[in-house]
C-alpha cells in the first residue's frame, strides 16, 4: 500500500513540477469559458439556466478533450520508462509490478482530476456569477454530475493508456495506438453506428440494441449520462428522443465506465507482469 502511495506521490510531484496540471487546467478553463460565452447567446429570454447550456457544451467538449489528454498522459508511462532505462531500476526495488501500475494510475488520476476540477470549476463559477439566473438556481446538480463523470471518463482513458503502454514495446507505436484508440472511441465508433443505423433504416436494429451499442462505448456512456440526465439538458442536447423512449438508470452508464476503468487496468497489470524488461 505504501509503495503505491509513493509511486503516486512521485507522479503527482512530477506533474506539478512540469506544469502539466496548470497547462491543462488553463486550456480547459479557456475552452469552457469560450463555450459558455457563445452558449449564453441562444438562451436569451428562455428560462433555461446558463449553466445548463454550459453543461451541454462542456460535455460535448469533454468527450473529445478528456480522452485525448488522458491517453497522452499515460501512453508513455511504462514504455517510455522502459526506453529511458528507468524502469529496470524501479523494478529492482522492493515493489511488485502491479503496484507500479496502480501507483502510476493513481498519480495520473489525481493530476487529471485536479486539472478538470480547476478548469471546469473555475469556468462554472465564472459563468454562474455573470449570469442573470440566481447563483443558487443554476443547474448545479447537472454541473457536479458533469464534473464527476468527466473525472470518470478521464480514468477510463488513463486506464486504456496504461494498457497501450504495457503492451507495446516502442514509444512511437504506443503514441500511434493512443491516437488510434482516441479516434476509434470518440469519432469512428459513432460514425460507424450512424452508418449502420442509416443503412439498416430501423429494420433490425431496435432502440434496445442501439442503446446497448451506445453504452458499450465509454465515451457514449458518458454522453448518455450527462445529456440524458435531466429533461432540460436532454432537450437542449438533442438527446431527448432517446431519453423519452427508454429511461436508463443513471447507474448503468456509470457502471459501464467503471468497468472500462477496471478491465483495461487489470489487463495492463497482467501484461506488465509478463513483460520482459
Amino acid at each position: 500500500m505504501k509503495q503505491i502511495f509513493f509511486i503516486a506521490l512521485k507522479e503527482v510531484q512530477d506533474g506539478m513540477r512540469n506544469r502539466w496540471v496548470v497547462l491543462i487546467a488553463l486550456a480547459m478553463a479557456a475552452f469552457a469559458l469560450i463555450l459558455a460565452l457563445l452558449g449564453s447567446v441562444p438562451t436569451g429570454m428562455t428560462k433555461i439556466s446558463s449553466l445548463a447550456v454550459t453543461v451541454v457544451s462542456l460535455a460535448s467538449l469533454s468527450i473529445f478533450f478528456i480522452p485525448l489528454i488522458a491517453l497522452l498522459l499515460t501512453y508513455d508511462s511504462i514504455v517510455g520508462e522502459a526506453e529511458r532505462g528507468t524502469l529496470v531500476l524501479l523494478l529492482s526495488y522492493p515493489i511488485a509490478r502491479w503496484q507500479v501500475i496502480v501507483g502510476k494510475f493513481c498519480g495520473a488520476f489525481i493530476l487529471l482530476s485536479l486539472a478538470i476540477a480547476l478548469g471546469y470549476g473555475s469556468a462554472g463559477i465564472a459563468i454562474s456569477l455573470t449570469a442573470e439566473t440566481a447563483f443558487t438556481e443554476q443547474a448545479w446538480s447537472s454541473f457536479s454530475k458533469l464534473l464527476l463523470s468527466s473525472v470518470l471518463l478521464g480514468a477510463v482513458f488513463l486506464s486504456l493508456g496504461f494498457l497501450i503502454s504495457t503492451s507495446l514495446r516502442e514509444r512511437g507505436t504506443a503514441a500511434a495506438a493512443a491516437i488510434g484508440s482516441w479516434l476509434f472511441f470518440v469519432l469512428l465508433y459513432d460514425m460507424g453506428l450512424l452508418g449502420l443505423l442509416a443503412s439498416d433504416a430501423g429494420k433490425t436494429i431496435g432502440t434496445d440494441t442501439l442503446i446497448g451499442l451506445l453504452l458499450a462505448n465509454p465515451a457514449d456512456a458518458y454522453r448518455m449520462f450527462n445529456l440524458v440526465g435531466s429533461d432540460e439538458i436532454a432537450i437542449l442536447s438533442g438527446m431527448a428522443g432517446l431519453s423519452l423512449e427508454r429511461q436508463i438508470p443513471a447507474m448503468v452508464p456509470i457502471a459501464v465506465m467503471v468497468a472500462w476503468v477496471a478491465l483495461p487496468l487489470a489487463s495492463a497489470c497482467a501484461i506488465f507482469q509478463r513483460r520482459q524488461v
Binding site: K2, R17, N18, G85, S92, Y93, P94, V277
Partner: protein, 308 residues
C-alpha cells in the same frame, strides 16, 4: 569466511527465442567479495544481472540470492537488501537530487535522514537541492551510485559504475566499494574499463557469447591464460647488437629492433634473466618488465587479439 555465499548461480541458461543469451553459467559470490564481470557488448552481462535481480527468469538452472530464488513473490521484500546501479543511470530531470533519493529511500523503506551522508560520499551534497536536469553526466552517475547505496544493501550490483567519471570520482567510487566490501557486502561489478579493475576486483568472471570463459583472481587468470610477461630493454645500437648476439640462441633477431629489445620472460625466469643482462655489463638506457594486463588476458580468453 564461513558465511554462505550471497549469490549462487548454477547452470543458468537464458534463451530469448533461438538466441542463448546465457549458456550454463556457474557463479558464486560470497559476502565481502568484489567480483568483476567483463565481456564484450552482448556477451550476456546485462542478462546475468537481470537474472540476479529477478527481472528475468532463467530458462533453466537455479539462482539463489540471499537464499531465495529471485522472481518468487517473497523476493520483492528481499530486494531491499540489494543495491543496483543500471548501466545508464537516468533520473527524472524535474526532481532535485534529494527528492530523487528520497523517493528511492521510501521505496526501500529506508530512513530518509541518512541521505546527507550518501550525498557527502559521492560529493553531491552541495548539488542535492538542485534539479537533476542541471546535473552533468558525471554527477548523474554519482547520484546513481548514491542511489545504489541506499539502505545499506547486502548485495551491490553495479553495471559500469565508473562510466563518464573523472579519475577523482572513479577513485571515490572504488573507495566506497572497498569500504562496503569490508562490511561484508557482496559486490558484482561489470565494467569495460579493464585496466581499472586490476587492483580492485577479487575475482574476474569473463563472459563470452553467453558462456563463462573463466572466473578467477587476476594472477590466476594470468597464469592460466599462458601469457608471458615481456622484458623491454632500451639501449643504443652497439649494445643492442651485443644483446642480440648474447641471446641469439633463444630469441629471433626481430626481437631487437629500433633500439628496443622485447623479450618474453616466463615468470620463473625473471630474476635469472635480469641477472644475466646485468652481468653483460652493457650501458642500458632503460629496462622494464611488463606483466600482461587485464586487457590482454581478456583478449586471450575471448580469442581476440588485443586492440592496439
Amino acid at each position: 569466511m564461513t558465511e554462505a555465499p550471497c549469490i549462487v548461480i548454477k547452470r543458468a541458461v537464458k534463451s530469448y527465442g533461438d538466441i542463448r543469451a546465457l549458456d550454463g553459467i556457474d557463479l558464486e559470490i560470497p559476502p565481502g567479495e568484489c567480483m568483476a564481470l567483463v565481456g564484450h557488448n552482448g556477451a550476456g552481462k546485462t542478462t546475468l544481472i537481470k537474472l540476479i535481480l529477478g527481472l528475468a527468469r532463467p530458462t533453466s538452472g537455479t539462482i539463489s540470492v540471499m537464499g531465495q530464488f529471485p522472481g518468487t513473490s517473497g523476493f520483492d521484500t528481499l530486494r531491499r537488501h540489494i543495491g543496483f546501479l543500471p548501466e545508464q543511470a537516468i533520473f527524472q530531470g524535474s526532481l532535485t537530487g534529494r527528492e530523487t533519493l528520497t523517493f528511492y529511500a521510501r521505496l526501500k523503506n529506508a530512513p530518509t535522514q541518512g541521505l546527507d551522508q550518501l550525498f557527502q560520499q559521492v560529493d553531491l551534497l552541495e548539488a542535492a537541492g538542485r534539479k537533476v536536469s542541471t546535473y552533468s553526466n558525471g554527477m548523474r552517475q554519482r547520484l546513481g551510485v548514491a542511489q545504489a547505496l541506499i539502505g545499506n544493501p547486502r548485495i551491490l550490483v553495479l553495471d559500469e559504475p565508473t562510466t563518464g567519471l573523472d579519475p577523482d570520482s572513479r577513485a571515490r567510487v572504488y573507495a566506497i566499494i572497498e569500504e562496503r566490501k569490508a562490511d561484508g557486502v557482496a559486490v558484482l561489478l561489470s565494467s569495460h574499463a579493464l585496466t581499472e579493475l586490476e587492483a580492485r576486483a577479487d575475482r574476474v568472471a569473463i563472459l563470452h557469447h553467453g558462456r563463462l570463459r573463466a572466473c578467477a583472481s587476476i594472477p590466476e587468470l594470468r597464469k592460466h591464460a599462458g601469457l608471458i610477461p615481456e622484458l623491454r630493454i632500451k639501449a643504443g645500437q652497439e649494445q643492442m647488437s651485443a644483446l642480440a648476439r648474447h641471446f641469439a640462441q633463444r630469441f629471433e633477431p626481430c626481437s631487437f629492433v629500433n633500439g628496443v629489445a622485447v623479450l618474453n620472460c616466463p615468470p620463473r625466469d625473471k630474476l635469472i634473466m635480469l641477472r644475466e643482462i646485468l652481468n653483460l655489463g652493457l650501458a642500458i638506457d632503460d629496462i622494464s618488465l611488463a606483466e600482461p594486463n587485464l586487457e590482454q588476458i581478456f583478449a586471450a580468453y575471448t580469442d581476440r587479439t588485443p586492440a592496439q
